[in-house]
Symmetry: C2
Subunit: 320 residues, 2 copies
């Protein structure tokens, strides 16, 4: 028996021998999304993607979602419909059942809270705290794409449908949680530590290092940036001239510190490193550095010069 929305609580079930994974993420108008340039469909998609990515970052399988939506009195029915369409379309693709939620009207701005319940075989969760000196550091996909997409969205709107700009926009508007990769790493017991890149590589690597009591050495030439520089070929950006983010250094900053890529950052004991494929289901996996016992993060530049790396991504205000 399984009961969805409508009774006092939803009834659900996880597989025998499995543990629950529980995560919740707020998405707030003016903080996490901007109604003036984020289409409602993308607000729904991104709100759920954040929580799915947390389940991926434990190596688990997402199963159920609860969606609470607080909307301003001026919000249209069309906005709410498109929001849920974006959210449920992503949920369907990940076999996640939306089993409950709550809604309310307020005078202020919109607030979304998405809870995802996942499952993982007992003892199989991959924590942030398992990295050991000598472990190799890997990251999936490309970094900085979402931050670049956000900048393009602010300056040019959602128009570009082709080329590098559209890839960045897509990464920002429709991020793809890496659940299959997380599951591959946990099932095969390959990763010693695992986290998703939600606040930016430098910040999330610092979270992993802190939790594990270790340091890290990253090689700048191995960090996968957002890729080819957008050419600014549309009329508005030509009129505005080249914008600052199109400089290579600035793109590298986005790769280091830009948030919301939802790629997976993980460490692998050296003895198992050869078992990490170059790509998994089309997603490139990059070996970007090594875990050290030093307690700090070091970035080795293309010129061989070493610099201390600080968490430079955006870290939300957190309780406790």
């Amino acid at each position: 028996m399984s009961v969805g929305i409508g009774d006092d609580a939803a009834v659900a079930e996880v597989l025998r021998g499995h543990q629950l994974l529980l995560t919740t993420d707020l998405s707030i108008a003016g903080v996490h999304f901007f109604p003036s340039f984020h289409p409602p469909r993308t607000v729904g998609h991104r709100a759920l993607a954040r929580s799915l990515s947390d389940i991926a970052a434990m190596g688990g399988v997402p199963r159920f979602a609860l969606v609470s939506l607080v909307v301003s009195r001026s919000t249209t029915r069309a906005w709410v419909s498109a929001f849920f369409a974006g959210l449920t379309s992503l949920a369907r693709r990940f076999n996640v059942k939306v089993v409950g939620g709550d809604t309310a009207l307020v005078h202020g701005g919109s607030v979304v809270d998405v809870v995802v319940v996942g499952e993982i075989p007992r003892g199989g969760a991959v924590l942030r705290s398992g990295a050991r000196p000598g472990d190799w550091i890997f990251v999936s996909g490309r970094l900085g794409l979402s931050a670049l997409g956000l900048r393009l969205l602010k300056t040019r709107g959602v128009s570009p449908s082709r080329g590098p700009a559209s890839r960045a926009l897509r990464a920002h508007l429709y991020p793809e949680p890496r659940c299959a990769l997380g599951l591959f790493l946990s099932k095969n017991r390959l990763a010693s530590a695992l986290i998703d890149v939600s606040d930016g590589l430098s910040t999330d690597l610092s979270h992993l290092c802190e939790a594990s009591g270790v340091g890290a050495r990253l090689r700048a030439d191995r960090v996968p940036g957002p890729g080819p520089v957008p050419t600014g070929s549309d009329r508005r950006s030509r009129a505005a001239g080249r914008t600052s983010f199109e400089k290579p250094d600035d793109l590298f900053d986005l790769a280091l510190h830009g948030g919301e890529d939802y790629e997976l950052l993980f460490t692998v004991p050296e003895a198992k490193a050869s078992r990490i494929p170059r790509q998994y289901r089309g997603i490139p996996l990059h070996h970007i550095g090594k875990i050290t016992s030093s307690g700090k993060m070091v970035l080795i530049g293309r010129n061989g010069v070493e610099r201390t790396l600080k968490p430079g991504g955006y870290d939300h205000f957190r309780n406790g």
Copy 2:
């Protein structure tokens, strides 16, 4: 292994052979609480109590909570501390572990979202839809106390510490979810249908009747009202004169339609009705009427006159 706040998701476990119960409830400043007269400790208590009551209304045991808190930039640290103190104190008393959450600052008003995960032996959940004609209708405790407490709070503040007024204030500010009673009903398979009285007796009985495809006959003389009329003995209320809610008819209206009592409303097949005790762990259980096949709700007055009963409690705007 169990991991709390700090990793990407919390790891938790429910008992073997059990199903999950999942519920989420929003508490919004200006809708569900008023910062001008609800002390922060009570905001935390009430936000969790709403979700615990949903688990009680399925006959389950609450286990884990996730708390998301969106506060205005003008909110003090003292407010946030008192909010969490009220919430965690109730959580401890019910053996509920707060395993996660999220926090954010906004320009608008505060929003709280509490998710509670409970457990129930497989197939043991008591739904709203199981009531059958002939079943007896029971309700626990007293009704209308919370609504009366809210009125007192608005007119007199939190001052009264003794007497009937303090009982109403306490019911409003520190409602007690009926988890032990819900578990007693589900374990002994006594209730055919079960719901909590969060929106008011008339509204929640209509939810139960609709879900079960039945009607109900209630006896006005059996409905437990908020009890002795507050005497208005403090200086401010003496100056203001007797207020309207002190008339007996008005008190009965609060019992029928006032929300947030979080008592349990349940139906029991006639053959099992004698197994319902007069009180359970100090909470009186009242036989207030019978389920019928008529499809409508009827109230039999003290004078024997029958009236159609309509849902008159406050029903939140709900999606779908």
